[in-house]
């Protein structure tokens, strides 16, 4: 749910990174934090376990330039991917304006991606969101590793809708694909607002 304040003239968009445990959701937003001009970013909050696994969420606020006189702010959240944190994932999804599904391209994680995608569909349904209508993009992450499934196989299994999808390596020093993924979902959200 976008938040529009006519008094402060700002609009806030909430974007959630979803996906199985260890797929690189936190790594995506850490990369964005590191690569963003300090004036354009707020503090990165990570609520994580001692073993660096997301426990509740990561949160990163970003400022984009004004659009039609409205300051645009992005609130990026990641969910905890581990299966048993289902209740937390559901809370974080609430009010999302757009979703990025971060898949782990490694062969042994193929099944984990499918389970997480089913879980996402369930959580969207709980909020009465239609996965075919919401701003939604998919990222095939960890493309730098040797044991990855071909993109065509991942796409066939995870993207029957043909939503925009991107290859990425969020853990690589130059984070290829990370910003393209984010830009794509922001574009979809704003196009949706325009056509509302």
């Amino acid at each position: 749910m976008s938040f529009i304040n006519y008094s402060t003239r700002e609009i806030i968009l909430k974007i959630v990174y979803y996906g199985p445990g260890l797929s690189g959701k936190t790594t995506n937003i850490k990369f964005i934090y590191a690569a963003t001009n300090p004036e354009a970013r707020g503090k990165l909050i990570s609520l994580e376990t001692k073993a660096d696994r997301t426990l509740f969420f990561d949160f990163l606020p970003l400022s984009l330039p004004a659009i039609r006189g409205f300051k645009t702010r992005l609130h990026l959240y990641t969910v905890p991917g581990q299966l048993f944190y289902s209740a937390s994932r559901k809370l974080i999804m609430k009010g999302a304006d757009g979703v990025i599904f971060v898949a782990d391209s490694q062969e042994p994680r193929f099944e984990a991606n499918l389970i997480s995608m089913d879980d996402l569909k369930e959580n969207l349904a709980a909020y009465n969101y239609d996965i075919e209508k919401i701003p939604f993009v998919i990222q095939y992450n960890k493309r730098d590793l040797p044991n990855v499934s071909p993109v065509s196989e991942l796409r066939a299994a995870l993207n029957p809708w043909g939503v925009p999808d991107f290859e990425a390596a969020s853990g690589a020093p130059d984070g290829p694909g990370v910003f393209n993924t984010l830009k794509a979902v922001v574009k979809m959200i704003i196009q949706d607002l325009r056509n509302a």
Binding site: M1, I4, K14, F56, P61, I67, L91, P135, R194, A196
Partner: protein, 191 residues
Amino acid sequence: MLRSARVVDWRGEQSAASGQGSPLASDCTSMNPRNVVFEEEQRLLEEACTRLARESLAKAIFLIDQNGQIVVAVGEIASIDTTSLASLVAGTTAATSSLAKLLGEEEFPVHFHEGKRDNLHISLVATEYILTVVFDQRSSLGLVRLRVKKATERLTEIFGELARRQSADQGANVFSEITDEDIDNLFSDNF
């Protein structure tokens, strides 16, 4: 439709959370219902919060929506990272509310955190907003509780006005003029 879709969205969520299924399910298939705040109500909300800060001897008051967006911040806020505070308060409130439902309670409408120096009193207003009072030894829990109760009535009234205006305001879409170029330009500077 859009603005009322927002209410549908939340109700849908609440009934889903309490396991009753949503009778309104078909009304909300898109993800972009909007929460809109207008200048008039913003001013009234600020007034009410400033008054609460004064009467409860609080350090700072924050009015936050359920998604962690700040509507009002008044008092000694210069040293506080308000954006972080708002997202964490919304997170803890969402978790607390889920705990209530898990135990068969409808809601825990108030929660309180006591520190060595500062305390945090968090309460729900008009079901969709979160009132957060930061106070220290200049005030007390009793006083804060009392004043919050009174302020909540006033805030609820204002949010009622806001909801009416939101459903009346069907037409204007500030974003209808946006071009694809505008959207591309969003990313040219910072990244």
